[in-house]
Amino acid sequence: MSSTISTKPWFALLSFIIGIVVIWYLAALLMNGKQLINTLERKKQDWTYTQVASQAYQIPRPMLPAPHQVAAQLNKSVFQVAIDSKRSLIYHTGITLQSTLLGFVLGAILGILIAVGIVHNRTLESSLMPWVIASQTIPILAIAPIIVVVLGALNMTGVFPKAVISMYLSFFPVTIAMVKGLRSSDVMHMELMRTYNATQTQLFWKLRWFSAQPYLFSSLKVAIAAALVGAVVAELPTGAQGGLGSRLLSGSYYGQTEQIWAALLMAALLGSVLVFVVGLAERVILSQRGNANA
């Protein structure tokens, strides 16, 4: 294979980013321009296209802030203020990160435990499994306030209620994948263990646990992204106590579109980093066990 520049991952990504930025500028011009024209017409002022084009990237409440506006906002709230200041996006990212991580860990543990139960106990399998699925059809934002209030009534405040909501979203992919993974052991290997008269525990630790690992890791990547979404959602009903979610909301109250976009990008960035870290852990751990695909 000739390794021309166009087969390089970075080249493709860069082209896409450039493409997106260009489209973004165009869309901003169109959307904000239309809004600007409406405003001017309402004020019964004359306008020209050049005038609109030149002002589209400066209007006060843009429908779509231009990339450089968002970048400026990001720069301002990340680099221009002290990290522990409430105006620092890093500070809010930290708050969200806390409940994300706690929720992720709780969710992963819960997910694994449920899966282990389902795989080892037929009663649990037939009774619990349909309800695990049904649980995910309940809109979390609807019951998030209730969870927060009930936990608050039980004197649990701070990160914990938020982590519980994260956990609710993140346990599901882990359970589903782990059930599949724990069952994915080769029939032949299962029988091999049977000829050795292995106990359930030996079967689990010497076989099932390993065949489940690839499933576990790919589901952990989904779960940590879900945990982040949960943490952000949970910041709405816990009151504006900081975090990317409340940045999103307050940005929304006060019509600070740039702030919304900055928080959004930050959340996506945080999510990507978290997924990347899980992927890294996956590669290290799977390569230790000599995985062919690592």
């Binding site: 080769d186 032949m188 290997h189 049977r194 000829t195 050795y196 390993f210 000599g290 995985n291 062919a292």
Partner: protein, 277 residues
């Protein structure tokens, strides 16, 4: 004629082996796999007695129930009718006592364990991983020609090498009874010859009992004390042939008259009621 031959066989066997204890006794055993479009009679009225120290080969066309019969002995499958005793107990007790070692048709190595660790697995599980575990594993890996591959992972080995590793794994625990399902199917002839001789040597030295499934008539003749010819639909025993060859064998035997005669006899038995389907 077949009936006569069979009964002759049985008599002979009884005389010959009266001094040794029975390792496997199967009486009128049948096994039916229920299935949506009609039951499959995988085994039908099997009678078989295998004495300690025998080397018995099962041979027969694809789908005649060789694997199934081996699996019944190993307590991986339960008969629908009839009785079976393994070393005087039920197959389940034999399994729980870790009486036998089983070599599957495919290598069945755990991909996350090195070759060495794969061999150590049965010992770990039975809690027998004492100090001489390493010695034992070394010995058998060397026997199958894998002494330089201790730390490789299964997927770094060719199919034939994997199969040999799985044989070493079964041998390591030195079981009383070896159940082997086409263990050498994936090997080229030269390697196969080598493995045959090694297996014969182990068997001669240790007086183990071996039950062996193969597709190769030559292999069956070379290795076995008794050859069980099976036929399909329903899976049953067509003929049991006792080998006239000496227990101590060499590859040179292949040019022996008796070798060819025996091979011919097996081929004939196989050809009877064999139809391609």
């Amino acid at each position: 004629m077949l009936a006569v031959h069979e009964s002759e066989d049985f008599e002979q066997l009884n005389v010959l082996r009266s001094s040794r204890r029975q390792m496997i006794g199967i009486e009128d055993l049948s096994l039916v796999f229920p299935s949506a479009d009609g039951d499959v009679h995988a085994l039908s009225h099997i009678n078989l007695s295998i004495k300690q120290g025998d080397f018995v080969s099962f041979i027969g066309p694809s789908g005649c129930g060789k694997t199934t019969l081996l699996r019944v002995i190993a307590d991986l499958e339960k008969q629908t009718e009839g009785n079976i005793l393994v070393d005087g107990t039920s197959p389940e007790d034999a399994r729980l006592n870790r009486l036998y070692g089983y070599v599957f048709q495919a290598p069945a190595l755990l991909p996350w364990r090195s070759i060495y660790d794969n061999c150590a697995l049965p010992m770990e599980i039975s809690g027998r991983s004492g100090p001489h575990q390493a010695e034992q594993i070394d010995k058998y890996l060397k026997m199958v020609g894998l002494q330089d591959f201790h730390n490789k992972y299964p997927w770094q080995l060719s199919g034939g090498m994997q199969q040999r590793a799985s044989i070493a794994r079964a041998l390591c625990i030195e079981p009383e009874l070896l159940l082997m399902d086409e263990p050498f199917g994936a090997l080229d002839e030269i390697t196969r010859d080598h493995m045959n001789m090694e297996l014969l040597q182990i068997w001669q030295q240790t007086q183990k009992t071996v039950v062996f499934v193969t597709h190769s008539i030559a292999e069956a003749v070379l290795l076995s004390t008794h050859i069980v010819v099976m036929s399909p639909r329903p899976g049953r025993i067509a003929k049991i042939i006792q080998s006239p060859l000496p227990r101590v064998k060499t590859l040179a035997l292949r040019d022996d008259e008796r070798f060819h005669a025996l091979a011919g006899e097996i081929r004939d038995a196989l050809a009877q009621d064999h139809a391609i389907d």
